[in-house]
Amino acid sequence: MSRQTSSFSAEFNEINQEIVLSGRMRPRSVQEIASVINMVRRSLAESGSTAYVNVKRLTHMNMTAFRCLAEVLKSACEQKPQRMIVVVTSSVIAWSAPLFQTLASTQPNLSVEIYDSAFYPGQTFVEDESFIPILRTQTKMTWRHEREILPRHGLRDGLTIADICCGIGDFATLIKRQFNPTRLVALDHSKKSLEYARRVAAEFGLNSIEYTYGDASQMLLADNQFDFVTCRHSLQIFDRPDVLLRELYRICKPGGRVYITNEKNSHCLGEPHSETIRWTYEQVAKLFSHFDMDVEMGPKSRRLLNDAGFDAIKVESFMVTNLDGDPQDFADVIEAWETVYAGQMAVRRGDTPDFIRRFRQGFKDHVLAALHPKGYAGWPIWAASGRKPY
């Protein structure tokens, strides 16, 4: 286990008036963190009517660091009594809010907020409960392919595995049964999905999967822990996939592999009605990009893995189709997409009823193609992996 006692960063964003502290802050002495503390002091001195101190990703801290930071915050509060300082904490880190709350109780112009949304722009859609049935059927359909694909990317029996952004955990359950890992950690930031995951695992008598509530962009998992790290259909929903990949890289052992899957939504297809279907999925890609999510990421996997420092990169694509299993499963997934994409996201974007009607039509045609006795419907996915160099 290699973890540095102090590997942290501090940044000041003038536009948001936000100081962001992240990482591990366990210095032996105050001198070790003097530059960060000075930066916090300077930034607070320059800030306007409200300043934010974001500690959502400050995962470790000792009292040497806390007391020093507390002094700076206190004197900043006293110097400008009209200015509010808001300390922004995350519920992932259970000690954070109670500890910073001790400051708030002595300073009237300092408050502590627990703020978990806005990891990325589309979070509210994705953490919604209505996503659970979609994820479930999607995994059922992709597993037929992935159980064959995964061994080509290095997955085998007896490895230590982490599934990051695990959703409702059914992929983890399948992995557990098929590949019998020695350790399996599954992390997500939706408490509802995790609750569901724990229930399903318990029903199957699988009690050794470690489900953990966490933020994939700053995980509480130590460096170099896992032989195989998976992150499926999730990089594409972050506006900063590079930040996530850096974390996946960090927890992976040297010589281990990180496996990602992503879509290219505009390449969803169907017959009959290929034109309306194509138009709708092109719009899906634009809609997601409006919310800073890139559901066209699939073919970019090679570049992303390469830029993140991986080697021995492998990329393959596969098409989930209505002919793989029960066509009704395919149809169910598309109907669920329609509900979220047309029913919620397009509405949130402020699209006109005309647009939404046309947008919905492509999904309906895709369902028809899936269920039509001579029809064909497809959903393409890119599976890619890279090795963390020794």
Partner: protein, 160 residues
């Protein structure tokens, strides 16, 4: 490093040994990074049977690290420092025992659970931290100028 894990009692509710680690104090205080390493190690073990081990370990390691850092600053380089984890159904207890400088006996002995507001006690900040995060902390002093710092974690309550 000595690691043991045998059960010491079968009485229901009684604390059972989970792990014990003993280090030569001279070695321990030669390297500050050991505080973090040992804290993480003990917190990982403590959290093992929690529903969410990663978060529970993160929570526990905050206080355990502080206890160990206090030992790092206070221990005299004589004999050994003992780290122990014990558990029963309700709680996990982490304790660290070491010898302090006898010139500080008065300060260490001044621990008064009911009203420690002087700020003079060597464990003052540690106690503040324990209180802030809702973990009970105890300090036992024996006649040989050896102190044991004891934290009782109720992980299920602290980390949901």
């Amino acid at each position: 490093m000595i690691m043991t894990g045998q059960h010491i009692s079968a009485k229901p509710g009684a604390l059972k040994n989970m792990a014990a680690l003993a280090l030569d104090v001279g070695l321990f205080i030669s390297e500050f990074r050991l505080c973090d390493t040992i804290a993480e190690y003990l917190a990982d073990l403590l959290a093992q049977s929690h529903e969410d081990p990663a978060r529970c370990a993160n929570f526990s390691s905050l206080l355990i690290n502080e206890i160990i850092e206090l030992a790092f600053r206070s221990a005299i380089p004589v004999g050994r420092i003992d780290f122990n984890l014990l558990r029963n159904e309700a709680l996990v207890r982490a304790s660290v025992a070491f010898s302090y400088d006898r010139n500080n006996r008065a300060a260490w002995s001044s621990f008064d659970r009911s009203a420690d507001s002087s700020g003079q006690h060597p464990a003052h900040h540690l106690m503040m931290l324990a209180q802030a995060i809702g973990v009970s902390l105890d300090i036992e002093i024996d006649g040989d100028d050896r102190v044991t710092l004891i934290a009782d974690f109720l992980p299920r309550e602290a980390v949901r």
